[in-house]
């Protein structure tokens, strides 16, 4: 099972280390992680996506909750959550036709095209991880030079609990 965890932590040095260390030492996996300060500069929000059976995920949440530097730990229901990841692809251009096709593909996924060069194009895509992976599979036909992905950021919709 894929789970999105939203973790509000004290905005202090060393907390990211402690959280990731907890995953390692308890034998849990981090699928993706993103961190940023919140509207209150005393806190940061970490969004971690992970895989595990239900028992494991419950255990991760409890262990994270037990950490003294975590203020709030929530497992988000993906159906009641807005979650997105930012990705940047550098894609190979072998001929003029490629360039057009890549533009079309980017448009179809709502991506933005940057840095158009003779032999490469960069595409910025903000979407769910699944959509990004789908885009990646289609982009493979042209040849992918580099990819950078941020990991998921997520917030629960209002009214959801």
């Amino acid at each position: 099972m894929w789970a999105i965890l939203s973790i509000l932590v004290e905005n202090k040095p060393g907390i990211l280390f402690k959280v990731t260390h907890l995953f390692r030492s308890r034998n849990f996996n981090i699928d993706s992680i993103s961190v940023g300060v919140t509207e209150n500069p005393e806190y940061s929000r970490m969004t971690i996506t992970t895989y595990g059976d239900e028992k494991q995920v419950t255990q991760i949440v409890k262990q994270l909750d037990k950490m003294i530097d975590t203020v709030e730990v929530k497992q988000l229901d993906e159906h009641k959550t807005v979650y997105r990841e930012l990705s940047i692809f550098k894609i190979k251009v072998s001929n003029a036709n490629d360039s057009m096709e890549i533009n079309k593909l980017a448009n179809a996924y709502g991506g933005k095209v940057h840095d158009v060069k003779k032999d490469s194009i960069m595409v910025e895509l903000t979407a769910t991880p699944d959509q990004i992976t789908a885009f990646e599979e289609l982009a493979l036909q042209f040849g992918i030079i580099d990819v950078a992905r941020t990991g998921v950021a997520a917030l629960q919709r209002s009214g959801a609990s």
């Binding site: 060393g14 255990q59 409890k62 909750d65 037990k66 950490m67 003294i68 975590t70 203020v71």
Partner: protein, 571 residues
């Protein structure tokens, strides 16, 4: 308000603030060893009332603080310098963490500006200790010291206790600042207390009353929360037999008719048997460690488990439960007892299950085969029990002697038996005994030791002698790393590799004498009787060296990865 705060403010160095904050926490003793990076704090001992107890190794300082903490239920304090001093206490911190013992370890660190530059005796102790501490502080400014101490003690002793590290850079120790010693503070992400869970206590009662073969499994949490009276009242009201984990040994008087003793890898035969037959277990303050329950899956299906624990993360970690009661186990047990009394529930002992439990217990008490020799483990430990007052404190080392102590030394007064159960740290028992004796100078403290373990921290004899802390080391000397030897006999076709300790290398009687302690050798029951009596009436640390048969095994034995019902018995 402002004047109130001003009154509290005082300019002083970080080192002085540290000592003042420790005094405010009621600290009277610190175990430690100095070095360059903690000299400013050491200098403050000249100007305060806290007693410094010098150890010969920082690991022992940490174990002493641990022993002190387990007995007094207040954090024991140890000091070490940066670099190797700090890394030396890691084993002690990890040991305390594994057994949820309250401790505050204070290390010196290189000056703030030197951190990260591989300075002399710099080690990233915060990074290294992270997985084995409950929390760690590194004040970067002198004025942060008092709050780090206050919060550190609070975290170490509340909820599920554990070790806290405070790493103080040298310039933070020497810098002057306006100090505020806070009484109140906020830790937003720390909630050590849950309200008593009435609904689930009620459910637990119904489940226990509906069970045909109920058992209480008391773990270490029962001892940490001193829930002795509550546990006994509950067991007697419901007439439910009590088994314990090894860490919970002595949470219930082991001479009580309902007591079956510890379960586990080297549990009592009767306890393991009854545990595997039960249909409902009330598990109190335990993590269902593999050493306690073996492979449990087959029981899980028919066993209803009620799990009480202060740590919500323990619920469901190793064991699926039917009812979970989160909260301080003493508070939860109190509510349970109160509800039972309100309902006027009092069971009698006239039922088939209790009859069966009684017969099983009697059978194994009479029929467990013991070593035939005069100096068999059971005889030695029963002799110690016979001569030792009930309020005396026992610590143990790690190995066969530890498991024999579990099997053959009955704890009568609850909360007087301590061991490194989680990490299994050889060398813990002796320094921990010293810490225990500092916490409770009026009772005898005996470390039940093996020769191998004692060798790891025997230099604490210097501390015991010079600081006048007369504890007794009871060395069951088989001249081998006996527990390892037993596994080699059992699983490796008697290929004995790396276990021989040599005959009298060292001679522990002479070793004790060389430190100015008393050394006694007991080669017969008569000599043992005399030696124990001599030790108990002496006011100097005493080592009793008791040569035993190197081939004696600890039995029963539940091999790792097997079930309690597959326990191997003496043939």
């Amino acid at each position: 308000m402002a004047t109130d705060l001003e009154n509290k403010m005082e300019t002083m160095s970080g080192a002085k603030a540290l000592m003042k904050a420790l005094e405010k926490e009621g600290v009277k003793e610190v175990f430690g060893l100095p070095g360059g990076a903690n000299l400013p704090m050491y200098d403050e001992f000249a100007r305060c009332d806290i007693r410094h107890i010098l150890t010969r190794h920082e690991q022992s300082a940490a174990h002493m603080a641990d022993g002190f903490g387990r007995v007094s239920r207040k954090p024991g304090v140890c000091f070490a310098t940066s670099g190797p001093g700090a890394t030396n206490i890691l084993t002690g911190i990890a040991t305390a963490q594994a057994d949820s013992a309250p401790m505050v370890a204070v290390t010196g660190q290189v000056p703030v500006a030197m951190i990260g530059r591989d300075a002399f005796q710099e080690s990233d102790i915060i990074g290294m200790a992270n997985p084995v501490v409950k929390y760690a502080f590194q004040p970067r400014d002198a004025k942060e010291v008092p709050e780090a101490v206050r919060k550190g003690f609070f975290i170490a002793e509340t909820g599920r206790p554990g070790p806290v590290l405070i790493d103080i850079p040298k310039d933070v120790q020497t810098n002057q600042a306006e100090m505020v010693f806070p009484d109140e503070f906020k830790i937003r992400g720390y909630h050590p207390w849950a309200d008593p869970d009435m609904v689930n206590v009620e459910k637990a009662i119904t489940m226990l009353l509906g069970a045909e073969k109920p058992v209480i499994l008391a773990g270490g949490g029962t001892i940490i929360s001193s829930a002795f009276a509550e546990l006994q009242t509950l067991a007697e009201l419901l007439m439910i037999p009590v088994v314990t984990t090894f860490k919970g040994k002595g949470s219930f008087p082991e001479n009580h008719p309902l007591s079956l003793g510890p379960i586990g890898m080297h549990g009592h035969a009767e306890a393991n048997k009854i545990m595997t037959e039960a249909d409902c277990v009330l598990a109190i303050g335990t993590r269902f460690s593999d050493r306690s329950v073996g492979t449990f899956e087959e029981f899980e299906k028919r066993l209803k488990i009620i799990h009480m624990d202060v740590d919500p993360a323990e619920i469901g970690k190793n064991q699926t439960t039917s009812v979970a009661v989160v909260g301080d186990v003493r508070a939860s047990l109190r509510i349970m007892v109160k509800m039972l009394m309100q309902k006027a529930i009092k069971q009698t002992d006239e039922n088939k299950w209790l009859q069966h439990v009684k017969e099983t217990k009697e059978y194994w008490r009479e029929n467990l085969k013991l070593h035939p020799g005069e100096m068999g483990a059971a005889k030695i430990l029963r002799k110690l029990r016979e001569l030792l007052p009930h309020q005396s404190i026992i610590t143990t080392e790690v190995g066969q002697h530890q498991m024999w102590a579990s099997l053959f030394f009955d704890v009568i007064q609850p909360g007087t038996f301590f061991s490194s159960t989680g990490l299994g740290t050889m060398g813990w028992g002796f320094p921990a005994a010293i810490g225990a004796k500092v916490a409770k100078p009026d009772v005898h403290v005996v470390d039940i030791a093996g020769d191998g373990s004692f060798a790891m921290t025997e230099n604490s004899l210097a501390t015991a002698v010079l600081e006048d802390i007369p504890v007794i080391v009871f060395v069951m000397n088989n001249f081998t790393l006996g527990m390892v030897a037993q596994w080699q006999r059992t699983f490796y076709e008697r290929r004995m590799i790396g276990v021989d300790q040599g005959k009298y290398c060292p001679d522990y009687v002479k070793l004790a004498e060389s430190y100015g302690a008393q050394g006694l050798r007991a080669q017969s029951m008569d000599e043992l009787d005399k030696a124990i009596k001599t030790a108990l009436s002496s006011n100097v640390a005493t080592v009793i060296d008791i040569p035993i048969d190197p081939e004696e095994d600890v039995l029963p034995f539940v091999a790792p990865g097997t079930s309690l019902k597959d326990m191997v018995l003496p043939s």
